[in-house]
Symmetry: C2
Subunit: 378 residues, 2 copies
């Protein structure tokens, strides 16, 4: 029985983690759960499950829940997330969205918990600090993202010196068939129509700008200990091959599956074993029929090119890029700026920043904060 | 340094094994080599390499070679192949074509040698005896065939209970775009034009009839300890995905690569490690562009359907099917019978045979012999 702490339980990934946990009641038990503002979702879960620990964003929500659920210990806010990350468990699942996921990951590593990671910003903004902490605490990260799960399954126990190249696939996002000129007047609604995946709104916009693929390149660099020159991306419209690993003997392994996050989630939860999937999501290649591969142009997707540049530069820049992007996407979703303004803000703020090394998480938090404030007006 | 014995050195696979050995002189050394009639190839190799043991088909060739190469011990005939299989080595590579490969494999297993297997008939005709011998002698088979190498690389150390289904890919062979009606008058030359692979003539014909894919299904059954209901085939024109494994959690792993046998050969030779490939055979998916998948119809390819039926029946039938097919293909290549006569002979002889269990290799040799004689006249 794996005892699981799940942060970000009310988001798209959190929902699907709970699906997989429900599918295997003899394998998994949730001992801690966090949501942000969607406390009704948390309350609904607590009504049917005994969960010893829970966390919400706001103090007033915490107080209300304590009354209804006297057998659960509640925390709130960032401090509460930190407390959740200090719980001893068999698997700590970080499905938070945004920079808010960084400190909980670092704390869970210090606690010695194995981590299943869906929070991209952990490795994008804080990759160097996280990798150092992993080594110091002898802790492992299991990826949940479909691309990294694919690579993880293909590499298995091979040393990174066996790998010639990772090939991360990209559907191309909502605007893959539009030229850059056609992007000037796209709407939020257009941008949220992802061709293959049903995901949260932040990541759907990041897929349209290809910032998301850039993040994945940086994450892959840290997860699999490979230089950026060994990490390629390719456009693959069908999202059936979730990524590939080319080995030094020119043999290539790929992982395929339906575009259903519950598959990589279950792979991470059950690792190092595999469990029977209880969902109707088998891949039928005869039905798919054809798989296409095209170049993913760095000219067409400048935020992908930026991510390579920023990833190689290291230091503060990845954190700046991430913070600028979070604010820009949020402003776009609110209708304050145009789609192409996202690129303008992110590239502009990275270019305006004088890079320097990062030595502590507090420093990172400060850079994140300052960048956000500037990005609101950039 | 792995000491290698290679049987069938002058065939297509044997040639490419020697390529890979030449590419890694610090890793591999040939200590034994066999050819059939192409003694000139053997002599050429011996002129530039010290090889302690060698074997040829005919006694007169043996005598001539002994004069030129006094430092090599020569054997001849089936008895010679058996002697070669009794040599202690780090890797015994069986690249013989046809039923002649069965006894050497069984002998090498008893010798305790790890076996890299390219000889299909070993598992097709003698799968039950071979598996029993493997268990008794605690010996492992490493597959060389591209399809089984793909499955082997995808499964790695997973237990067979993790596997839901193997998906063996097939290019469709030389006649994939012809209807059964159009097969009546095809020529030997037509049949030898394989769209993707450059291989020996026997296997190229077996690909056109899909007997080869049927053999691979039976081999996969024995290699990976899976029931026939868990082994599927799919038509994949490009021969880029060499086969796939669907796990019970609906995650699918696939192995991809150029249609170059030197890749799976090197994978087998270097197992459990990987070595740098020295050849210009990297896969470029952008150049390939598109991968197609279609149904591989058992009506269109009756020898594939037959292989499933015969594989499930076990006993003597697989040996009968194989022997009938070897003779039929040979007669077709000589222009004695038509392409569709191959199916007629193989299916006819299997249907006419009263099946029974197999208890010894001598019994198998006798059935093989009797079937061949009958197949010449069938």
């Amino acid at each position: 029985m794996k005892r699981i702490v799940l942060l970000g339980a009310s988001g798209s990934i959190g929902d699907q983690v709970l699906d997989i946990v429900e599918d295997h009641p003899d394998q998994y038990v949730i001992i801690g759960l966090s949501v942000g503002r969607r406390v009704e979702k948390l309350a609904a879960y607590l009504r049917s499950h005994d969960v010893p620990y829970a966390c919400v964003q706001y103090e007033e929500d915490r107080k209300a829940l304590e009354v209804e659920f006297p057998n659960t210990v509640f925390f709130s806010g960032d401090e509460g997330l930190k407390k959740m990350s200090e719980l001893q468990c068999d698997l700590f699942i970080n499905a938070l969205v945004g920079f808010a996921g960084v400190v909980p990951t670092l704390t869970a590593i210090k606690t010695g918990n194995t981590i299943a990671l869906a929070n991209k910003e952990t490795l994008v903004a804080a990759g160097e600090l996280v990798n150092q902490a992993l080594q110091e605490n002898n802790v492992k990260i299991l990826p949940i993202d479909s691309e990294h799960s694919a690579i993880f399954q293909c590499i298995q126990n091979a040393p990174s010196s066996d790998v010639k190249r990772l090939i991360i696939t990209a559907s191309g996002g909502s605007f893959r068939d539009r030229t850059r000129e056609e992007l000037a007047n796209v709407t939020v609604k257009d941008a949220l129509s992802h061709p293959n995946w049903s995901m949260g709104s932040k990541i759907t916009i990041d897929s349209a700008t290809m910032m998301n693929k850039g993040f994945e390149v940086i994450e892959a660099h840290y997860l699999f200990d490979l230089p950026y020159t060994s990490i390629d991306t390719i456009m693959h419209r069908e999202s059936i091959i979730h990524s590939m690993v080319e080995f030094k003997d020119h043999s290539v392994l790929a992982q395929l599956g339906q575009a259903d996050m519950r598959i990589p989630i279950q792979v991470a939860l059950s690792h190092p074993e595999r469990l029977e999937m209880q969902r109707d999501n088998r891949l039928d290649l005869l039905k798919v029929g054809t798989l296409h591969f095209e170049e993913l142009s760095h000219e067409r997707y400048p935020l992908l090119a930026l991510a390579y540049r920023v990833g190689k530069a290291k230091g503060a820049l990845p954190c700046v890029m991430n913070a600028a992007n979070e604010v820009a996407v949020s402003r776009f979703l609110k209708g304050e700026i145009s789609f192409l303004d996202i690129e303008r803000i992110v590239i502009g703020m990275v270019d305006a920043y004088e890079n320097h090394p990062i030595t502590s998480v507090d420093q990172l938090i400060q850079i994140d904060q300052e960048t956000r404030e500037k990005a609101l007006l950039f």
